[in-house]
């Protein structure tokens, strides 16, 4: 395993200012905090050279998970191992060598490139930071090489991001991640902001680069048909929890968790008239998570046990891992 994520928990304090924390109740002043649990005990293994995708609807915690794995957020609990070495508790200084091995590509190529830096400068910056001893000529060669790899003319180094189209900017974001020669790339919705024909270009590029450099991807997306196309393994998240973890073929041919089933039936398919499974109600607030299974408020198979007891991921036949009492009891 290249990366192992174990029971990762990430919470955010959204109480606001110091004064907002005080409440007046029963004649006394009490201090209370409002906590959002964005990632709630997630465990995923990411094998080397593979693509593991995390899907879910907005607010399910998939981006927070990606950022916590990268240690852009410190986790509240749980562990992250990189090549069997624990990295979630390292100081920033100790973490620095790992940063060259794990890189991130963000969603919005308009916001993630500094508009005042030329492409050359954007691409040289990570090399200067991580390998300050590298000779000037070598840096220049490496930048030219990555630009070539992502399909941007190396002569464009003096251009600025505003001169590029959305697809070209995303290529530069990918190139920037590649300059330090990483093994592991976390891509947070890398194609969500792009048009269909450009999405195809970027997905093809990512698949080619994976083959060429033996890259491992953690791919975050809400677009299920894209996920089906590029992933080896898929993790489905709902309200910070993992519902189902399976190979792409297993998941898309026979989803087991009721939420996965509903999610997959909602994918618009070319030419087929919608016949999707309707979910009742809305996603509950992550501030006060429902007790028991987080999905029970919207699940048509929910029973008494689902309201009390939190289901754990357990293996079912076919090799998928599902967190559902109904599946475990054999009634779904």
């Amino acid at each position: 395993m290249l990366v192992r994520i174990r029971n990762l928990v990430k919470e955010f304090d959204i109480t606001g200012g110091w004064l907002d924390q005080f409440r007046f109740s029963g004649g006394r002043i009490e201090r209370e905090k409002t906590i959002v649990r964005a990632v709630n005990g997630v465990s995923i293994d990411i094998p080397e050279g593979r693509t593991v995708s995390v899907v879910g609807e907005s607010g399910c915690g998939k981006s927070t998970l990606a950022r916590t794995v990268m240690r852009l957020y410190p986790p509240e609990a749980g562990e992250v191992y990189y090549r069997e070495q624990r990295i979630d508790n390292l100081s920033s200084k100790e973490l620095k060598p790992f940063r060259t091995r794990m890189q991130m590509v963000f969603q919005d190529p308009y916001a993630s490139l500094n508009p005042r830096m030329t492409l050359g400068k954007i691409l040289r910056e990570p090399v200067h930071f991580h390998q300050p001893k590298l000779a000037k000529g070598e840096v220049r060669d490496r930048v030219a090489a990555v630009m070539e790899q992502v399909g941007i003319d190396p002569d464009w180094q003096s251009r600025y991001p505003h001169e590029l189209s959305g697809g070209q900017r995303q290529r530069i974001s990918i190139a920037r991640a590649l300059t330090v020669e990483p093994e592991f790339i976390v891509a947070d919705e890398p194609i969500a902001a792009l048009d269909v024909s450009i999405q195809a270009q970027i997905l093809n590029l990512m698949m080619d680069l994976q083959e060429e450099h033996k890259l491992t991807y953690l791919f975050i997306s809400h677009d299920l048909s894209v996920v089906e196309h590029i992933s080896n393994q898929v993790a489905v998240m709902y309200l910070g929890c993992l519902c189902e973890l399976a190979t792409a073929e297993e998941l898309f041919s026979g989803p087991r968790h009721p939420y996965t089933q509903a999610l997959l039936s909602a994918i618009p398919r070319l030419g087929k008239r919608a016949g999707h499974e309707r979910l009742s109600g809305d996603v509950p607030s992550p501030i006060s998570l429902p007790p028991g299974c987080v999905f029970h408020t919207r699940c048509r198979h929910a029973r008494e046990r689902c309201r009390r007891e939190i289901p754990v991921l357990s293996e079912v036949e076919g090799g998928s891992r599902v967190a559902c009492h109904g599946v475990e009891e054999g009634r779904i």
Partner: protein, 326 residues
């Protein structure tokens, strides 16, 4: 079938300091009563501008440069501002992309619904409330009496879009123009909203123009599709024909770029390059610089003509051997 809408050679220009850009270039379309048409294209194709121009929502420096829009036998493109105001939101309603931006955050849902109703009809507040409740029930808003007194922030994204749809239904319009109505929503919510729109169009015999970039969504809801590229319609025809036998190289490329069309883990079909900006649309066929079939003849502008599959395509190469090879 009774003709509801006819757009004839409509062009929309945006006049800038140095140049004039043509966002919509001589587009002709028609819609029958109760028919559902999809306008598909990538960003910058001019699909939204086309949708806006039908009810003359083009603001300066844009203007309708030529052509006409005939709705229920009347040339509405020649209407004055006041005449047009009476058509908009009455006989033709429009639904926009972002449900948070289109609702006023400081007014209750009831106030906003009554306001748009009273702009078109002489009704008392009690009557208006009745109509509002009826429409809210139609879009499956639970306990509508209570909801009428609430503010937009008390609703989820999907609920807000339902309310927008309820508002658009208030005056029983003959046609709805929906501009990317589900782009800001999650897939499960998107499926619900699309199902609702489809059901309403069928029961109320409403015409629908659905503007979207999502071919899969459009293929589920509409009967006909118009594919736009750089301000022109490149292919127009029945939904099944276009999905199963696309003719224009751009439509073929667009469908091939969808992951669900490609086999698992194969490469996706990619269209090289990007759509040209409005100032850089090539002469002749606008797609020729990205097209693998481009030949000398493509220097002259192709017009929509019937192809063997039944759809109309604006391509010189359609019907020739090369295009079947592609």
């Amino acid at each position: 079938m009774e003709k509801l809408l006819a757009i004839n050679k409509l062009s929309v220009d945006f006049t800038l300091r140095e140049s004039t850009l043509r966002a919509v270039n001589k587009v002709s379309l028609s819609l029958d009563r109760g028919e559902r048409l999809g306008i598909v294209g990538e960003s910058g194709a001019g699909k939204s501008v086309l949708g806006f121009s039908i009810i003359n929502l083009i603001s300066k420096p844009g203007r309708i440069a030529e052509g006409s829009v005939i709705f229920q036998g009347e040339e509405i493109s020649a209407y004055s501002y006041e005449q047009m105001r009476r058509v908009r939101g009455d006989r033709i309603s429009m639904i926009f992309q972002d449900p948070m931006m289109t609702l006023n955050p400081v007014l209750t849902i009831g106030e906003q619904m009554r306001e748009s109703l009273k702009a078109h009809m002489e009704v008392s507040t009690a009557q208006a409330n009745e109509i509002c409740l009826e429409k809210l029930r139609k879009v499956y808003i639970p306990s509508p009496e209570k909801r009428l007194e609430q503010y937009p922030h008390e609703f989820s994204g999907g609920m807000r879009q339902r309310i927008i749809i309820a508002i658009s239904l208030l005056t029983n319009p003959a046609m709805i123009i929906a501009d990317e109505p589900t782009t800001a929503l999650d897939v499960t919510i998107q499926a619900e909203i699309m199902e609702l729109l489809l059901e309403l169009c069928e029961t109320e015999q409403m015409g629908l123009i659905l503007i979207t970039h999502d071919l899969a969504v459009v293929s589920q809801v509409t009967q006909r599709i118009a594919v736009m590229y750089a301000g022109t319609i490149v292919e127009l025809g029945r939904t099944e024909d276009i999905i199963t036998h696309p003719q224009h190289p751009y439509t073929i490329g667009l469908l091939g770029a969808l992951p669900q069309r490609a086999g698992s883990s194969g490469r996706l079909n990619q269209i090289p390059g990007v759509m040209p900006g409005l100032a850089r649309i090539p002469r002749g066929c606008p797609f020729k610089n990205r097209c693998s079939l481009a030949a000398e003849i493509c220097a002259t502008k192709p017009h929509l003509r019937k192809s063997s599959s039944g759809s109309e395509a604006a391509c010189h190469m359609v019907g020739t051997e090369q295009s079947t090879a592609a």
